[in-house]
Symmetry: C2
Subunit: 379 residues, 2 copies
């Protein structure tokens, strides 16, 4: 039995905080800290974009040289990406300063940034804000922290799952931000997941991979892949459950984690920039999951399809054209397309291609004048 709460409630021995450090000129919260009182294992997934932001490069380094982690520091308003030789050292200096304040090893800190690409991180502002950030830490700090990672998001994405492993209650809590540049292999998307489960590193990695593949890697808002996408999962073992490994209790933990990621992924799509409709595209009777997903994404990323949904114009020819454009050899007589009534907020597109037994579901939003308005000016 998994209990699901639509609010972020941190698992045992996690804390969080946020401040307005001045990275965002609006004076809004822009710097968040997540902290585990004990050492935690980490599992991460980063963007497949070949140009990667400095925080991702630094995380990969730390993940290689270190096994246990205690904190994540994340900022919004600046992507710390493609800004020359300072990017990496600025990220590193951030962890150094935070480590000093937390009295931990700097390599036990993971970093994340989201915002505009190509500008130097205002390092001084961040360093000046860190003492306050550390001082503010509390169990309730997640309420501010979830807002501090937002950019064009109109609502916070958060969820908490509770379930039992033998007689111990395990909690998974996650927050995320969207909401443009959302495409498979992630997006300008940050997601932080915290659990007090006791779990082996192998099981943690495997569960996260499975969960991300069918959630964050199955959503697209605009087909644009970001340089900063990160999913960071910390597991501190504080619940004292029998340890999950790849055999024992794995399907239970994996199921809960997958559900966590899928719910957040759907929230990201629902808050897609300018989105007026939530669209679920299912491709069935495919030879493989990846074939089904490729077709579903070809539809989901078709501007013509997305504008037709916005206009409530049942132009199913655009679905057909997108299926054919995917490059998969679908025979015309085997192709079946069903679209639910378009005057609703949630639209279901069902495609069947009579090639096998696999299927995939992809989530997307419509393309609206509001998307263009949001993105024509962005600073």
């Amino acid at each position: 039995m998994i209990k699901i709460y639509k609010k972020a409630v941190l698992p045992k021995r996690f804390m969080a905080s946020a401040v307005a450090s001045g990275i965002k000129k609006t004076g809004k919260l822009d710097l968040a800290l997540f902290y585990s009182l004990g050492l935690a294992k980490a599992a991460c997934k980063f963007t497949a974009n070949k140009i990667q932001a400095a925080p991702i490069k630094l995380n990969k380094r730390y993940l290689k040289s270190n096994k246990y982690f205690q904190a994540i520091i994340a900022n919004s308003g600046n992507a710390n990406c493609f800004n020359g030789r300072f990017g990496l050292s600025d990220a590193q200096e951030t962890t150094r300063e935070l480590a000093r304040n937390l009295n931990i090893n700097k390599q036990a800190i993971l970093v994340a940034s989201t915002g505009i690409i190509g500008r130097r991180l205002p390092l001084l502002k961040i360093k000046q804000a860190i003492p306050q950030l550390v001082k503010n830490m509390s169990r309730e700090g997640i309420r501010q922290a979830k807002r501090a990672i937002m950019t064009t998001d109109t609502f916070s994405k958060e969820i908490t799952l509770k379930f039992k492993i033998r007689n111990k209650i395990v909690t998974i809590c996650a927050i995320a931000k969207g909401s443009g540049m959302i495409a498979p292999h992630m997006a300008t998307m940050l997601c932080f997941i915290f659990t007090d489960a006791s779990i082996t590193q192998g099981a943690l990695n495997k569960a996260l991979k499975i969960a991300v593949d069918k959630s964050f890697n199955c959503i697209t808002v605009d087909g644009c892949m970001s340089t900063n996408d990160s999913v960071i999962l910390l597991a501190n073992g504080a619940s004292g459950n029998n340890t999950v490994d790849t055999n024992k209790y794995f399907s239970l933990f994996r199921g809960a984690l997958s559900r966590t990621c899928l719910e957040l992924a759907k929230m990201i799509v629902k808050d897609g920039e300018g989105a007026s409709k939530f669209i679920q595209i299912k491709v069935g009777k495919a030879k493989s999951f990846s074939e089904a997903k490729r077709i579903a994404l070809s539809i989901a990323n078709s501007n013509l399809f997305k504008t037709a949904i916005y206009g409530e114009d049942p132009n199913f020819g655009r679905v057909v054209a997108a299926v054919g454009a995917s490059g998969i050899d679908v025979r015309e007589k085997d192709l079946k397309v069903k679209v639910s009534p378009l005057n609703k907020k949630e639209i279901n597109v069902d495609v069947s291609i009579n090639r096998g037994n696999a299927s995939a579901i992809v989530y997307t939003s419509d393309l609206t004048p509001e998307y263009i308005k949001i993105n024509a000016k962005y600073n």
Copy 2:
């Protein structure tokens, strides 16, 4: 010396005509005929979409079984695609009826359709209009014919080139229609090219392939690939020039044909649905043309890039993200991006990746609220 005229003037022994057959409910011209008084060789390029419209299937059949052609019949308002078992027989019946009226073999007729997908072609209307279409044929008929193939186009795309092979004047004349669903491997794009050059079949095929690769296959309006794209080239040899083969006079003919296609391709982009700006994206210092093109297309199809250009917002981070999203292993320190001033109608994006000596140029338009308005309702 090639002379270029911005108007369609048919080469020797070609005629054309158009009628309003009633396929379009607006009463506008919707059926066009192009006719060569003598037998002509044909070279064609069709969409790479796996779902292909009936006219394309029929053309492929006729091109296999037949060597010489005399006519093209094209309609707008209905794509004759994904409409079940009638599609192919309707296309065939159209050629049969036209063949009867022209007193030629039906297999000497090529067909093209553009418009909405999934509806049956109004065959009776077409058959009833064919006698008038044949009766109307004239050298000046191209003026109506070029309008009869238009859908959402706001202006006709036409060009004529004249050049000499030895002492004979050779003419290439071409018309095209865009203007949404425009992506590499062509678009809802029809292009008909007529030349009175005498040329071998091998040289004709080769010249068209080269011309299309760097023109119609290098443009994108919305990244959507159509089911109906067709480039059909007829060469009737009426100019009496020394025959072009793959050695003799080839570069001259190829150059003129490439120029023809490139000029039309640019016009299609300039008339892209809702376009307010014309964008040229050059990727240089790549390992190969295809690598350069892949990166250029990744930029050209990025909705975030296209909206930034529309908003005149110099957000070059979106170019960087799109380069990385292409999957090509560009090193950050090797990547240079230059964007010309955004307050102009024509924008140049220059990307250099320091991997080799190849380059590619891709043309696209911006993404505007008007694109969404046009495509939210389309019948």
